[in-house]
Subunit: 212 residues, 2 copies
DNA sequence: GTACTCCTGCATTGTCGCAATGTAAGGGCG
DNA sequence: CGCCCTTACATTGCGACAATGCAGGAGTAC
């Protein structure tokens, strides 16, 4: 995710340096985000300097290793304001690895689908449990509480999706078995030419719809 | 997102080549995913070949430009099965750009937050409308219908989040204004040293909690 | 021949994580 | 005191993958 705007948001409170910014970020956004990688952060800071959103000032310290202080520029402040007040518009569709797994499992047959659904269900329940625990620990900060609630809502929606998936995809999964997705072998040899039999999409007719 | 497993899932139906795989993918996963970049796809195929999940066979054609056919190997088939039947476990926390925007807007003050919330609300409503339309057009395929429903559910959850955000973050936003996040100027000069006044996080005491 | 589709590859940018480096403060110990 | 070890602080570099875009060959249709 584009971290650089969030870094600018933190810098709006006053200059800071890489190591401290990591602390500020994790303090502000809460534990459900997951740790912020420090190497990534410095790359982001480099880019912000390069683009003129932030200036770097070297600060010598006697009692500690030197550090680089980063400060928001006027241009950066303006950029931040624009970003923070404009909505997030989905640029690349609804992409979720779960979707791909459902596609794969459905094509593998009903047993594979059932296995995925059951396992995924457990995972989501565990996630919700962990989030609930987090919420108890860090629920005082309003932003953190809000974000945790949002994460829980997402997970519950996902749970409902997988719960309905097995029934709704039963036909697909059953059809997949018949068309040869399951007939193993044919590992190594099978020389060129593409065996023309058993292919569901002959020349496939790529339909370009008017989106994008 | 890790596309390569999905490509393997498509190849489970039989060998294919890059351009056709793009068509198969968009056919199978539906329009809500968004277009698949062809360049990306070839990168993925290269990696699959490198890792032994897929073999490439050059196919000469008289009536068209030559093409490369890709075929799943036994190892690839096994890898596919493992991936498709194991749940997706969130590795990197709940990361949503909306969360970062809320953080940024809240720090900018109540007006910025209100602006973001209103705009985001409109965006989500428009998304839901577009998805509903899609659902009418492509709702026959069970997988596509399921994925669109999942996308709608997610968006509705997001909608609820932003709707509650303004009230729940009012205190944070108000506090932000007082602490100087809004006092403009200080663009260019302001030489080194980091003005020690007006900083909410003096040495900041990075608390490392026991996660990860 | 030129416009177009099919098909592929490369270059570039951004995201993300790990590992390595260097400085300095603090503690134990002969 | 001089030595070593650990911990905290602070930064940098490397490498993999994701994603987009552009260039271009090769054939077809006019």
């Amino acid at each position: 995710m584009p971290l650089h705007h969030a870094v600018m948001a933190l810098l709006a409170d006053g200059p800071s340096h890489g190591y401290e910014l990591k602390g500020r970020f994790e303090e502000a956004i809460g534990p459900q985000w997951g740790g912020l990688n420090i190497g990534h952060l410095y790359q982001v800071l480099d880019r912000l300097v390069r683009d003129g959103h932030v200036t770097r000032v070297h600060v010598a310290q006697s009692d500690r290793p030197d550090k680089n202080a980063y400060q928001l520029t006027g241009q950066g402040r303006q950029e931040l304001r624009e970003w923070a007040t404009s909505p997030w518009v989905r640029t690349s569709g609804f992409r979720d690895e779960l979707f791909l797994k459902l596609l794969g499992a459905a094509r593998l047959g009903p047993e594979a689908l059932a296995e995925l659904v059951a396992a995924q269900r457990e995972t989501y329940l565990a996630d919700i449990g962990a989030l609930t625990r987090l919420r108890r620990e860090r629920g005082q900060e309003p932003l953190v509480a809000l974000l945790i609630d949002a994460a829980v809502a997402h997970t519950k929606a996902d749970l409902a999706t997988v719960d309905s998936a097995e029934a709704r995809l039963a036909d697909v999964a059953h059809a997949a078995v018949m068309t040869g997705a399951e007939c193993g072998s044919m590992d190594g040899m099978e020389p060129p030419g593409i065996p023309p039999g058993r292919r569901r999409f002959p020349p496939v007719e790529v339909r370009r719809q008017s989106r994008e």
